[in-house]
């Protein structure tokens, strides 16, 4: 392994290990996701057809909100105890370290959220044929949320009232993902192909994965002075 790859793996494993030691915090985004999804049958009524028609939108809006709430844990504790500064001072390019942290964040929030969404889709009567497209949009879309969100967290880390501000900055940038993901799943409900939207989401993921880590690293450097 090259030193850069070793640093990448080290940061990734460190973040995952640290998170696994606070399992309660890991469950919080999932719990939040569950509660938001639960509100919709209560508000829309238990009618099967209504819920079925709204299931993709409900799941995606809840996933976007849960993702934006969980973003804070990406850099917060490292910022508070000073380890973020140490990471940035290390000789390894900070883009690599930032990318490792984003990937760790997705593994700890986006991936469980995707799995959990599969379960919840059953409770919202999503037809079996639409489950796979939902899975695809979540697998492609939630990493984009973590990537784009990382820029927002980096800009607001350590600010008073940062949480609310973070949501204001990040949610508008999440909207394109939401639009295409929900449109894709809705297409399958109408018997159309989902692949147009899947390709666009894949393109968004590639674009975000190439550009966002640089923006995040730059933002962190700005915030740390």
């Amino acid at each position: 392994m090259t030193p850069i790859l070793r640093a990448f793996v080290a940061v990734l494993l460190r973040d995952v290990r640290l998170a696994l030691r606070h399992q309660g915090e890991l469950l919080n985004p999932l719990l939040f996701f569950l509660i938001v999804v639960t509100m919709f049958p209560l508000a829309l009524g238990p009618d099967k057809l209504t819920l079925q028609a709204h299931a993709p939108a409900v799941i995606w809006v809840a996933a976007v909100l849960a993702s934006s709430i969980s973003l804070d844990m990406m850099f917060r504790s490292d910022f508070d105890d000073g380890s973020l500064e140490q990471l940035l001072l290390s000789p390894c390019p900070d883009v690599i370290l930032v990318f490792a942290k984003i990937l760790a964040h997705w593994l700890l929030t986006g991936a469980p959220l995707t799995a959990f969404a599969m379960l919840l889709s059953v409770f919202l009567y999503l037809p079996g044929a639409a489950v796979f497209p939902l899975l695809m949009t979540l697998l492609l879309g939630t990493p984009v949320l973590s990537l784009v969100g990382s820029v927002g967290v980096a800009l607001t880390v350590g600010l008073r009232g940062g949480g609310m501000l973070l949501a204001l900055l990040v949610l508008p940038l999440y909207m394109p993902v939401l639009i295409f993901a929900v449109a894709g799943v809705n297409n399958t409900l109408k018997g159309l192909s989902v692949f147009g939207e899947i390709y666009i989401l894949a393109a968004m993921l590639i674009l975000a994965a190439t550009l966002c880590p640089f923006a995040t690293a730059a933002s962190l450097r700005i915030r740390m002075g």
Binding site: G152, T156, L165, L168, P172, L173, I222, R223
Partner: protein, 247 residues
């Protein structure tokens, strides 16, 4: 010679003086252009064959929409220059542009609604062009909120620059939304490969209004940049001398 001029006016004190000298000129040109443009668009331009008189809101709506995107690009570009080359003056330009851009975006949405009601029969549709313009408003407001949240002006300007650059992806989406998604909002009529699909009698007031909006932005920008420079340089001797009652 050009390089020397840039060096000279990148210095805050000289930029402050220059902006102060330019502002009234832009102001007067704006007043002339807007009065002429409004006269032309409200009285001289003919009524539209299909839309009658109510199409005339185009003379506010389209220039405002252009400006909403143009100002965002200026804001992001100035922010990028400030970020990369550490030009403080460009930080000031970026920060000062945000409120004006937000107002143009808001004006675009409002005039669009007023036009939509008689023509489409609805104030609002969730069409791609309208939605992406709304997202642009959110991006401006997020930028302004971020500026307000960070106390150190240097850090705020640089953080804002990154945010503005990330948000730039929305600009081509707004521009091409009417071609990519065929929804209620009409396609491009002016900036298109085959030449403008609008009669010259309507095109002239539209362009006059657009130039007037641009000079309005420049006039306001000059004043706001002056304020930004004063805030940035409040501990320097020339600002203190100014505050003490010097010229």
């Amino acid at each position: 010679m050009f390089g020397q001029a840039i060096d000279k006016y990148a210095a805050p004190e000289n930029a402050y003086t220059l902006a102060g000298r330019l502002a009234p000129w832009f102001g007067w040109v704006t007043m002339f252009l807007l009065l002429a443009g409004l006269w032309d668009s409200l009285f001289l331009a003919p009524a539209d064959e299909e839309q009658g008189e109510s199409y005339r809101i185009i003379f506010l709506h389209v220039p405002a929409a252009w400006m909403s995107m143009f100002v965002y690009v200026v804001m992001a570009g100035a922010g990028a220059v400030g970020l990369v080359w550490k030009v403080k003056l460009m930080d000031a330009v970026a920060r000062a542009s945000a409120p004006t851009g937000a107002i143009f975006t808001f004006l675009t949405l409002i005039t669009g609604m007023l036009w939509g009601k008689p023509m489409w029969g609805t104030w609002w549709v969730w069409d791609a062009r309208l939605t992406s313009e709304l997202i642009l408003l959110f991006l401006y407001l997020g930028y302004i909120a971020l500026q307000a949240a960070i106390d150190d002006r240097r850090t705020a300007a640089r953080a804002g620059a990154v945010l503005a650059l990330v948000g730039v992806v929305n600009i081509p989406i707004i521009h091409y939304s009417v071609m990519w998604w065929n929804t209620l909002h009409q396609g491009p009529t002016i900036v298109r490969a085959e030449g403008p699909a609008i009669h010259i009698s309507m095109l002239i007031p539209l362009l006059v209004m657009a130039i007037g909006f641009t000079t309005y932005y420049l006039a306001v920008l000059m004043q706001q940049v002056r304020c930004e420079i004063l805030e940035q340089e409040k501990n320097s001797s020339w600002v203190r001398a100014l505050a003490a009652g010097g010229k």
